[in-house]
Amino acid sequence: MIELKDISYSYEGEMALRDINLTIDRGEAIVLLGANGSGKSTLLKLLNGIISPDKGTYQWNGQEITAKMLQKPAFAKQFHQKIGFVFQNSDTQLFCATVYDEIAFGPRQMGMDEPQVKERVEDCLALLGLGGFEERQPYHLSGGEKRKIAIACVLALNPEVLVLDEPMNGLDPRTVRFLSELLVRLNDAGKTLITSTHRLELVREISSRAVLFQENHSIAADRHTSEILGDIELLKQTNLVDEYYHAP
Protein backbone atom coordinates (compact mmCIF):
# COMPACT_ATOMS: atom_id res chain seq x y z
CA MET A 1 0.00 0.00 0.00
CA ILE A 2 2.77 2.43 1.02
CA GLU A 3 6.31 2.03 -0.19
CA LEU A 4 9.16 4.41 0.57
CA LYS A 5 12.48 3.88 -1.19
CA ASP A 6 15.70 5.68 -0.15
CA ILE A 7 13.80 8.72 1.07
CA SER A 8 15.84 11.67 2.36
CA TYR A 9 14.59 15.08 3.39
CA SER A 10 16.25 18.12 4.91
CA TYR A 11 14.91 21.36 6.41
CA GLU A 12 17.05 24.28 5.23
CA GLY A 13 20.19 22.18 5.01
CA GLU A 14 19.54 20.18 8.20
CA MET A 15 18.92 16.51 7.63
CA ALA A 16 15.53 15.34 8.95
CA LEU A 17 15.18 11.96 7.19
CA ARG A 18 18.05 9.84 5.96
CA ASP A 19 17.71 6.97 3.46
CA ILE A 20 14.35 5.72 4.68
CA ASN A 21 13.11 2.42 3.24
CA LEU A 22 9.72 1.35 4.49
CA THR A 23 6.80 -0.74 3.25
CA ILE A 24 3.41 -0.65 4.93
CA ASP A 25 0.69 -3.11 3.97
CA ARG A 26 -3.04 -2.53 4.13
CA GLY A 27 -4.52 -3.19 7.57
CA GLU A 28 -1.23 -2.98 9.44
CA ALA A 29 -0.86 -1.16 12.74
CA ILE A 30 2.63 0.25 13.05
CA VAL A 31 4.27 2.70 15.43
CA LEU A 32 7.17 4.98 14.71
CA LEU A 33 9.41 5.12 17.74
CA GLY A 34 12.23 7.55 18.27
CA ALA A 35 13.62 10.28 20.46
CA ASN A 36 12.64 13.93 19.97
CA GLY A 37 13.83 15.31 16.65
CA SER A 38 14.63 11.89 15.19
CA GLY A 39 12.37 12.43 12.17
CA LYS A 40 9.07 10.76 13.11
CA SER A 41 6.88 13.82 12.53
CA THR A 42 8.71 14.67 9.31
CA LEU A 43 8.03 11.18 7.99
CA LEU A 44 4.33 11.50 8.88
CA LYS A 45 4.17 14.84 7.04
CA LEU A 46 5.80 13.23 4.05
CA LEU A 47 3.34 10.32 4.09
CA ASN A 48 0.49 12.85 4.04
CA GLY A 49 1.96 14.82 1.15
CA ILE A 50 2.57 17.97 3.19
CA ILE A 51 6.24 17.82 2.21
CA SER A 52 7.95 16.02 -0.66
CA PRO A 53 11.25 14.12 -0.43
CA ASP A 54 14.53 15.63 -1.64
CA LYS A 55 15.61 12.16 -2.72
CA GLY A 56 13.92 8.78 -3.16
CA THR A 57 10.42 7.72 -4.11
CA TYR A 58 7.10 7.46 -2.31
CA GLN A 59 4.56 5.06 -3.78
CA TRP A 60 0.92 4.82 -2.77
CA ASN A 61 -0.93 1.80 -4.14
CA GLY A 62 1.69 1.54 -6.89
CA GLN A 63 1.44 5.18 -7.88
CA GLU A 64 4.31 7.55 -7.24
CA ILE A 65 3.41 10.53 -5.04
CA THR A 66 5.34 13.59 -6.16
CA ALA A 67 5.02 17.33 -5.49
CA LYS A 68 3.78 17.68 -9.07
CA MET A 69 1.03 15.10 -8.56
CA LEU A 70 -0.08 16.82 -5.36
CA GLN A 71 -0.41 20.11 -7.22
CA LYS A 72 -3.26 18.57 -9.22
CA PRO A 73 -6.32 19.44 -7.08
CA ALA A 74 -8.39 16.37 -8.02
CA PHE A 75 -5.57 13.95 -7.25
CA ALA A 76 -4.54 15.75 -4.03
CA LYS A 77 -8.12 15.79 -2.70
CA GLN A 78 -8.64 12.11 -3.39
CA PHE A 79 -5.27 11.29 -1.82
CA HIS A 80 -6.05 13.37 1.29
CA GLN A 81 -9.40 11.60 1.66
CA LYS A 82 -7.65 8.22 1.64
CA ILE A 83 -5.00 9.11 4.20
CA GLY A 84 -6.11 11.08 7.25
CA PHE A 85 -3.71 12.97 9.48
CA VAL A 86 -4.22 13.81 13.16
CA PHE A 87 -1.81 16.60 14.05
CA GLN A 88 0.17 16.61 17.29
CA ASN A 89 -1.35 19.96 18.26
CA SER A 90 -5.13 19.57 17.98
CA ASP A 91 -5.63 23.36 18.12
CA THR A 92 -4.17 23.70 14.64
CA GLN A 93 -6.76 21.30 13.28
CA LEU A 94 -9.90 22.87 14.70
CA PHE A 95 -11.29 26.04 13.16
CA CYS A 96 -15.09 25.77 12.98
CA ALA A 97 -17.58 27.47 15.26
CA THR A 98 -19.13 24.28 16.65
CA VAL A 99 -18.10 20.66 17.10
CA TYR A 100 -20.88 19.61 14.69
CA ASP A 101 -19.57 21.88 11.91
CA GLU A 102 -16.03 20.75 12.62
CA ILE A 103 -16.84 17.08 12.03
CA ALA A 104 -19.26 17.87 9.20
CA PHE A 105 -16.58 19.92 7.36
CA GLY A 106 -15.18 16.91 5.45
CA PRO A 107 -18.39 15.00 4.67
CA ARG A 108 -20.07 18.20 3.41
CA GLN A 109 -17.20 18.75 1.00
CA MET A 110 -17.55 15.20 -0.22
CA GLY A 111 -20.98 16.19 -1.50
CA MET A 112 -23.06 14.18 0.99
CA ASP A 113 -26.59 15.32 1.70
CA GLU A 114 -27.34 16.67 5.18
CA PRO A 115 -28.95 13.48 6.63
CA GLN A 116 -25.83 11.53 5.63
CA VAL A 117 -23.60 14.22 7.11
CA LYS A 118 -25.63 14.11 10.33
CA GLU A 119 -25.31 10.35 10.49
CA ARG A 120 -21.52 10.55 10.16
CA VAL A 121 -21.22 13.30 12.76
CA GLU A 122 -23.37 11.42 15.25
CA ASP A 123 -21.53 8.14 14.62
CA CYS A 124 -18.13 9.79 15.07
CA LEU A 125 -19.22 11.56 18.24
CA ALA A 126 -20.62 8.30 19.64
CA LEU A 127 -17.43 6.45 18.71
CA LEU A 128 -15.35 9.03 20.55
CA GLY A 129 -17.71 9.17 23.53
CA LEU A 130 -18.64 12.77 22.87
CA GLY A 131 -22.41 12.55 22.47
CA GLY A 132 -24.05 15.88 23.28
CA PHE A 133 -21.00 17.94 22.26
CA GLU A 134 -22.53 19.01 18.93
CA GLU A 135 -23.07 22.67 19.81
CA ARG A 136 -19.93 23.15 21.93
CA GLN A 137 -17.15 25.44 20.70
CA PRO A 138 -14.06 23.36 19.87
CA TYR A 139 -11.57 25.93 21.11
CA HIS A 140 -12.99 25.93 24.64
CA LEU A 141 -12.80 22.17 25.18
CA SER A 142 -10.20 20.40 27.29
CA GLY A 143 -7.02 18.98 25.73
CA GLY A 144 -8.38 15.42 25.68
CA GLU A 145 -11.71 16.49 24.18
CA LYS A 146 -9.96 18.52 21.48
CA ARG A 147 -7.81 15.51 20.59
CA LYS A 148 -10.94 13.35 20.32
CA ILE A 149 -12.67 15.93 18.11
CA ALA A 150 -9.57 16.13 15.89
CA ILE A 151 -9.68 12.35 15.48
CA ALA A 152 -13.45 12.45 14.83
CA CYS A 153 -12.92 15.06 12.07
CA VAL A 154 -10.51 12.75 10.30
CA LEU A 155 -12.63 9.62 10.84
CA ALA A 156 -15.65 11.36 9.29
CA LEU A 157 -13.77 11.28 5.97
CA ASN A 158 -13.50 7.48 6.32
CA PRO A 159 -9.84 7.28 5.30
CA GLU A 160 -8.12 3.98 4.57
CA VAL A 161 -5.05 5.02 6.52
CA LEU A 162 -5.03 6.92 9.78
CA VAL A 163 -1.80 8.73 10.61
CA LEU A 164 -1.47 10.03 14.15
CA ASP A 165 1.35 12.23 15.39
CA GLU A 166 1.92 11.65 19.13
CA PRO A 167 -1.83 11.16 19.81
CA MET A 168 -1.41 10.38 23.52
CA ASN A 169 0.80 13.35 24.42
CA GLY A 170 -0.44 15.43 27.34
CA LEU A 171 -3.57 13.36 27.97
CA ASP A 172 -4.84 11.95 31.27
CA PRO A 173 -4.68 8.14 31.83
CA ARG A 174 -8.40 7.56 31.22
CA THR A 175 -8.30 9.38 27.85
CA VAL A 176 -5.11 7.52 26.90
CA ARG A 177 -6.81 4.21 27.69
CA PHE A 178 -9.90 5.24 25.70
CA LEU A 179 -7.90 6.32 22.66
CA SER A 180 -5.60 3.31 22.61
CA GLU A 181 -8.66 1.03 22.76
CA LEU A 182 -10.24 3.06 19.94
CA LEU A 183 -7.13 2.65 17.78
CA VAL A 184 -7.29 -1.12 18.28
CA ARG A 185 -10.95 -1.14 17.27
CA LEU A 186 -10.23 0.95 14.19
CA ASN A 187 -7.50 -1.46 13.17
CA ASP A 188 -9.90 -4.36 13.74
CA ALA A 189 -12.30 -2.57 11.41
CA GLY A 190 -9.66 -2.61 8.66
CA LYS A 191 -8.01 0.77 9.04
CA THR A 192 -4.27 0.96 8.55
CA LEU A 193 -2.72 2.79 11.50
CA ILE A 194 0.56 4.67 11.54
CA THR A 195 1.22 6.21 14.93
CA SER A 196 4.26 8.07 16.18
CA THR A 197 4.97 7.97 19.88
CA HIS A 198 7.64 7.59 22.48
CA ARG A 199 5.30 6.17 25.13
CA LEU A 200 6.65 2.64 25.24
CA GLU A 201 3.96 1.39 27.63
CA LEU A 202 1.30 1.77 24.89
CA VAL A 203 3.24 0.51 21.93
CA ARG A 204 2.55 -3.19 22.42
CA GLU A 205 -1.17 -2.51 22.62
CA ILE A 206 -1.58 -0.26 19.59
CA SER A 207 0.82 -1.90 17.15
CA SER A 208 2.04 -5.18 15.81
CA ARG A 209 5.14 -3.71 14.18
CA ALA A 210 7.51 -0.98 15.29
CA VAL A 211 9.87 1.17 13.26
CA LEU A 212 12.64 2.59 15.40
CA PHE A 213 14.36 5.83 14.43
CA GLN A 214 17.83 6.69 15.59
CA GLU A 215 19.12 10.15 16.32
CA ASN A 216 20.85 10.45 12.93
CA HIS A 217 17.34 10.39 11.35
CA SER A 218 17.61 6.94 9.81
CA ILE A 219 15.78 3.73 10.70
CA ALA A 220 17.63 1.64 13.29
CA ALA A 221 15.21 -1.30 13.30
CA ASP A 222 11.92 -2.38 11.75
CA ARG A 223 10.61 -5.48 13.52
CA HIS A 224 7.75 -6.99 15.46
CA THR A 225 6.82 -4.70 18.36
CA SER A 226 7.62 -7.28 21.06
CA GLU A 227 11.08 -7.87 19.57
CA ILE A 228 11.88 -4.15 19.57
CA LEU A 229 10.59 -3.68 23.11
CA GLY A 230 12.66 -6.63 24.26
CA ASP A 231 15.89 -5.18 22.89
CA ILE A 232 16.80 -2.86 25.76
CA GLU A 233 20.29 -2.16 24.40
CA LEU A 234 18.81 -0.92 21.12
CA LEU A 235 16.27 1.22 22.98
CA LYS A 236 19.09 2.71 25.05
CA GLN A 237 21.14 3.45 21.95
CA THR A 238 18.22 5.24 20.34
CA ASN A 239 17.54 7.27 23.50
CA LEU A 240 14.15 5.69 24.20
CA VAL A 241 15.23 4.08 27.43
CA ASP A 242 17.39 5.83 29.98
CA GLU A 243 19.55 3.71 32.27
CA TYR A 244 18.78 5.80 35.33
CA TYR A 245 15.16 6.70 34.61
CA HIS A 246 14.06 3.20 33.57
CA ALA A 247 16.10 1.32 36.18
CA PRO A 248 14.13 -1.55 37.75
Binding site: A29, I50, T92, Q93, F95, L157, R185, N187, S207
Partner: protein, 275 residues
Protein backbone atom coordinates in the same frame (compact mmCIF):
# COMPACT_ATOMS: atom_id res chain seq x y z
CA UNK B 1 -1.34 -8.46 10.99
CA UNK B 2 -4.21 -6.65 12.70
CA UNK B 3 -4.64 -6.13 16.43
CA UNK B 4 -7.39 -7.82 18.41
CA UNK B 5 -9.51 -5.58 20.54
CA UNK B 6 -11.00 -6.53 23.88
CA UNK B 7 -14.09 -4.73 22.63
CA UNK B 8 -13.94 -6.55 19.31
CA UNK B 9 -17.65 -7.16 19.22
CA UNK B 10 -18.48 -3.50 19.80
CA UNK B 11 -20.16 -2.14 16.70
CA UNK B 12 -18.49 0.27 14.33
CA UNK B 13 -20.52 2.47 11.98
CA UNK B 14 -21.31 0.56 8.81
CA UNK B 15 -19.92 3.25 6.50
CA UNK B 16 -16.59 3.00 8.30
CA UNK B 17 -16.23 -0.67 7.47
CA UNK B 18 -16.56 -0.09 3.74
CA UNK B 19 -14.07 1.56 1.37
CA UNK B 20 -15.06 5.06 0.38
CA UNK B 21 -15.85 5.22 -3.33
CA UNK B 22 -15.21 8.90 -3.75
CA UNK B 23 -14.31 11.05 -6.73
CA UNK B 24 -13.74 14.68 -5.71
CA UNK B 25 -15.54 17.50 -7.45
CA UNK B 26 -13.37 20.20 -9.01
CA UNK B 27 -12.73 23.23 -6.84
CA UNK B 28 -10.18 26.04 -6.68
CA UNK B 29 -8.13 26.31 -3.52
CA UNK B 30 -5.14 28.22 -4.78
CA UNK B 31 -5.62 30.78 -1.98
CA UNK B 32 -4.73 28.23 0.71
CA UNK B 33 -1.77 26.95 -1.33
CA UNK B 34 -0.49 30.48 -1.91
CA UNK B 35 -0.90 31.32 1.79
CA UNK B 36 1.06 28.19 2.77
CA UNK B 37 3.88 29.10 0.37
CA UNK B 38 3.91 32.73 1.57
CA UNK B 39 4.06 31.68 5.22
CA UNK B 40 6.82 29.17 4.52
CA UNK B 41 8.88 31.91 2.88
CA UNK B 42 8.45 34.25 5.87
CA UNK B 43 9.30 31.49 8.37
CA UNK B 44 12.33 30.46 6.36
CA UNK B 45 13.51 34.09 6.34
CA UNK B 46 13.04 34.47 10.13
CA UNK B 47 14.74 31.11 10.79
CA UNK B 48 17.71 31.90 8.56
CA UNK B 49 17.98 35.28 10.33
CA UNK B 50 18.09 33.78 13.81
CA UNK B 51 20.44 30.95 12.86
CA UNK B 52 22.95 33.27 11.16
CA UNK B 53 26.27 32.42 12.79
CA UNK B 54 28.27 35.59 12.19
CA UNK B 55 27.68 38.87 10.43
CA UNK B 56 29.20 38.79 7.03
CA UNK B 57 30.40 42.38 7.13
CA UNK B 58 31.79 41.57 10.55
CA UNK B 59 31.25 45.06 11.99
CA UNK B 60 29.35 44.86 15.26
CA UNK B 61 25.58 45.40 15.32
CA UNK B 62 25.62 48.74 17.25
CA UNK B 63 28.09 50.25 14.75
CA UNK B 64 25.97 49.09 11.83
CA UNK B 65 22.71 50.31 13.39
CA UNK B 66 24.20 53.73 14.19
CA UNK B 67 25.75 53.92 10.72
CA UNK B 68 22.46 53.06 9.01
CA UNK B 69 20.54 55.59 11.09
CA UNK B 70 23.09 58.28 10.21
CA UNK B 71 22.83 57.40 6.51
CA UNK B 72 19.03 57.53 6.58
CA UNK B 73 19.01 60.93 8.33
CA UNK B 74 21.67 62.43 6.05
CA UNK B 75 19.92 61.07 2.95
CA UNK B 76 16.64 62.60 4.06
CA UNK B 77 18.24 65.99 4.79
CA UNK B 78 20.52 66.38 1.80
CA UNK B 79 19.74 68.67 -1.11
CA UNK B 80 22.83 67.63 -3.01
CA UNK B 81 22.68 65.18 -5.90
CA UNK B 82 26.41 64.50 -5.52
CA UNK B 83 25.89 63.35 -1.93
CA UNK B 84 22.96 61.15 -2.97
CA UNK B 85 25.03 59.54 -5.73
CA UNK B 86 27.89 58.97 -3.28
CA UNK B 87 25.57 57.26 -0.76
CA UNK B 88 23.95 55.08 -3.42
CA UNK B 89 27.37 54.11 -4.81
CA UNK B 90 28.57 53.17 -1.31
CA UNK B 91 25.43 51.07 -0.70
CA UNK B 92 25.70 49.36 -4.10
CA UNK B 93 29.32 48.51 -3.30
CA UNK B 94 28.18 46.86 -0.06
CA UNK B 95 25.42 45.06 -1.93
CA UNK B 96 27.83 43.73 -4.56
CA UNK B 97 29.54 41.40 -2.06
CA UNK B 98 26.27 39.66 -1.16
CA UNK B 99 24.81 36.50 -2.72
CA UNK B 100 23.04 36.84 -6.09
CA UNK B 101 19.62 35.99 -4.60
CA UNK B 102 20.00 38.58 -1.88
CA UNK B 103 21.18 41.23 -4.35
CA UNK B 104 18.16 40.68 -6.55
CA UNK B 105 15.79 40.70 -3.58
CA UNK B 106 17.24 43.96 -2.13
CA UNK B 107 17.21 45.64 -5.54
CA UNK B 108 13.63 44.53 -6.21
CA UNK B 109 12.45 46.02 -2.92
CA UNK B 110 14.41 49.25 -3.37
CA UNK B 111 13.32 49.80 -6.97
CA UNK B 112 9.76 48.81 -6.03
CA UNK B 113 9.62 51.45 -3.29
CA UNK B 114 11.11 54.08 -5.60
CA UNK B 115 8.70 53.21 -8.42
CA UNK B 116 5.70 53.35 -6.06
CA UNK B 117 6.80 56.82 -4.87
CA UNK B 118 7.23 57.94 -8.47
CA UNK B 119 3.62 56.93 -9.22
CA UNK B 120 2.38 58.84 -6.14
CA UNK B 121 4.31 61.93 -7.21
CA UNK B 122 3.11 61.75 -10.81
CA UNK B 123 0.27 64.33 -10.36
CA UNK B 124 2.81 66.86 -9.00
CA UNK B 125 4.87 66.49 -12.19
CA UNK B 126 1.86 67.64 -14.24
CA UNK B 127 0.56 70.23 -11.80
CA UNK B 128 3.83 71.96 -10.76
CA UNK B 129 5.96 73.31 -13.54
CA UNK B 130 9.58 72.12 -13.49
CA UNK B 131 9.01 69.67 -10.66
CA UNK B 132 11.12 66.50 -10.79
CA UNK B 133 10.40 63.49 -8.56
CA UNK B 134 13.85 61.99 -9.21
CA UNK B 135 15.46 63.27 -6.00
CA UNK B 136 12.74 61.94 -3.68
CA UNK B 137 12.72 58.61 -5.51
CA UNK B 138 16.52 58.38 -5.24
CA UNK B 139 16.33 59.19 -1.52
CA UNK B 140 13.77 56.47 -1.00
CA UNK B 141 15.80 54.01 -3.06
CA UNK B 142 18.88 54.69 -0.88
CA UNK B 143 16.94 54.51 2.40
CA UNK B 144 15.20 51.22 1.59
CA UNK B 145 18.48 49.72 0.40
CA UNK B 146 20.36 50.84 3.57
CA UNK B 147 17.73 49.33 5.87
CA UNK B 148 17.59 46.12 3.83
CA UNK B 149 21.36 45.77 3.91
CA UNK B 150 21.30 46.14 7.68
CA UNK B 151 18.50 43.59 8.08
CA UNK B 152 20.15 41.06 5.77
CA UNK B 153 23.62 41.25 7.28
CA UNK B 154 22.71 41.47 10.98
CA UNK B 155 20.65 39.17 13.16
CA UNK B 156 17.38 40.81 14.21
CA UNK B 157 17.92 40.13 17.89
CA UNK B 158 21.32 41.84 17.58
CA UNK B 159 19.66 44.83 15.90
CA UNK B 160 17.10 45.01 18.71
CA UNK B 161 19.91 44.87 21.29
CA UNK B 162 21.91 47.50 19.42
CA UNK B 163 19.00 49.95 19.68
CA UNK B 164 20.04 50.32 23.31
CA UNK B 165 22.97 52.43 22.08
CA UNK B 166 20.65 54.95 20.46
CA UNK B 167 18.82 55.43 23.77
CA UNK B 168 15.73 53.49 22.74
CA UNK B 169 13.85 52.51 25.95
CA UNK B 170 14.42 48.92 27.12
CA UNK B 171 10.71 48.19 27.09
CA UNK B 172 10.51 49.05 23.38
CA UNK B 173 13.44 46.71 22.70
CA UNK B 174 11.68 44.01 24.72
CA UNK B 175 8.52 44.42 22.63
CA UNK B 176 10.59 44.24 19.45
CA UNK B 177 12.37 41.11 20.66
CA UNK B 178 9.08 39.44 21.60
CA UNK B 179 7.54 40.40 18.27
CA UNK B 180 10.29 38.63 16.33
CA UNK B 181 9.90 35.55 18.53
CA UNK B 182 6.11 35.47 18.16
CA UNK B 183 6.22 36.00 14.39
CA UNK B 184 8.01 32.65 14.28
CA UNK B 185 5.84 30.87 16.87
CA UNK B 186 2.49 32.08 15.55
CA UNK B 187 3.72 31.68 11.98
CA UNK B 188 4.47 28.01 12.60
CA UNK B 189 1.07 27.61 14.26
CA UNK B 190 -0.80 29.19 11.36
CA UNK B 191 1.24 27.18 8.85
CA UNK B 192 0.04 23.98 10.53
CA UNK B 193 -3.51 25.34 10.58
CA UNK B 194 -3.42 25.98 6.83
CA UNK B 195 -1.88 22.58 6.20
CA UNK B 196 -4.66 20.97 8.27
CA UNK B 197 -7.26 22.96 6.34
CA UNK B 198 -5.72 21.78 3.07
CA UNK B 199 -5.68 18.14 4.20
CA UNK B 200 -9.31 18.32 5.27
CA UNK B 201 -10.41 20.13 2.10
CA UNK B 202 -11.12 16.96 0.19
CA UNK B 203 -13.87 18.25 -2.06
CA UNK B 204 -15.84 21.32 -3.01
CA UNK B 205 -15.80 23.89 -0.24
CA UNK B 206 -18.66 26.33 -0.69
CA UNK B 207 -17.62 28.44 2.28
CA UNK B 208 -13.86 28.81 1.91
CA UNK B 209 -13.81 32.21 3.55
CA UNK B 210 -15.74 30.95 6.58
CA UNK B 211 -13.06 28.30 7.06
CA UNK B 212 -10.31 30.87 6.62
CA UNK B 213 -11.93 33.25 9.08
CA UNK B 214 -12.14 30.31 11.51
CA UNK B 215 -8.40 29.78 11.05
CA UNK B 216 -7.76 33.49 11.72
CA UNK B 217 -10.05 33.42 14.77
CA UNK B 218 -8.25 30.41 16.25
CA UNK B 219 -4.91 32.10 15.60
CA UNK B 220 -6.13 35.21 17.41
CA UNK B 221 -7.34 33.18 20.40
CA UNK B 222 -4.04 31.31 20.45
CA UNK B 223 -2.05 34.56 20.42
CA UNK B 224 -4.13 35.94 23.32
CA UNK B 225 -3.53 32.72 25.24
CA UNK B 226 0.22 32.87 24.58
CA UNK B 227 0.36 36.54 25.59
CA UNK B 228 -1.45 35.79 28.86
CA UNK B 229 0.84 32.84 29.57
CA UNK B 230 3.89 34.94 28.87
CA UNK B 231 2.59 37.71 31.14
CA UNK B 232 2.11 35.22 33.98
CA UNK B 233 5.52 33.64 33.34
CA UNK B 234 7.24 37.04 33.40
CA UNK B 235 5.51 37.89 36.68
CA UNK B 236 6.59 34.56 38.17
CA UNK B 237 10.16 35.32 37.15
CA UNK B 238 10.01 38.65 38.98
CA UNK B 239 9.59 40.92 35.95
CA UNK B 240 8.72 44.43 37.11
CA UNK B 241 8.60 46.22 33.77
CA UNK B 242 12.32 46.87 33.54
CA UNK B 243 14.07 44.97 30.78
CA UNK B 244 17.83 45.11 30.67
CA UNK B 245 19.69 44.50 27.47
CA UNK B 246 23.26 43.45 28.08
CA UNK B 247 25.44 43.18 25.04
CA UNK B 248 29.19 42.82 24.94
CA UNK B 249 30.56 44.81 22.04
CA UNK B 250 33.83 43.95 20.43
CA UNK B 251 35.48 46.73 18.49
CA UNK B 252 37.58 45.51 15.59
CA UNK B 253 39.09 46.68 12.31
CA UNK B 254 35.76 46.32 10.48
CA UNK B 255 34.12 48.62 13.04
CA UNK B 256 36.86 51.23 12.58
CA UNK B 257 36.48 51.00 8.78
CA UNK B 258 32.68 51.28 9.06
CA UNK B 259 32.93 54.29 11.38
CA UNK B 260 35.56 55.99 9.20
CA UNK B 261 33.35 55.70 6.11
CA UNK B 262 30.32 57.06 7.93
CA UNK B 263 32.23 59.92 9.55
CA UNK B 264 33.65 60.66 6.09
CA UNK B 265 30.11 60.79 4.67
CA UNK B 266 29.04 63.11 7.51
CA UNK B 267 31.98 65.46 6.82
CA UNK B 268 31.16 65.37 3.09
CA UNK B 269 27.51 66.18 3.86
CA UNK B 270 28.52 69.20 6.03
CA UNK B 271 30.98 70.36 3.36
CA UNK B 272 28.35 70.22 0.62
CA UNK B 273 25.73 71.93 2.82
CA UNK B 274 28.06 74.88 3.49
CA UNK B 275 29.08 75.14 -0.16
Amino acid sequence: MTLRSEQHGKSMPRWMLADEDYVPATDKDSFVNRSILGLMEVLSLVRSQSSRAADRFSASAPVKVLGTLLLVVLTAMTRSEIFLITVITYLLLQLSVMRAGEISSVLKLSFGAAAFTAILLLPAVFLIEGYSPVRICAKLFATVMAVNLLSRTTRWDHIAGALKYVRIPDLFIFVLDSTIKYILLLGEFSLEQLQALKLRSVGKNRSKYTALSGVAGTLFLRSVEMAEEMHSAMECRGFTGEYRVIQTVRFGTADILHLTIHIGLLVFFIFLSRG
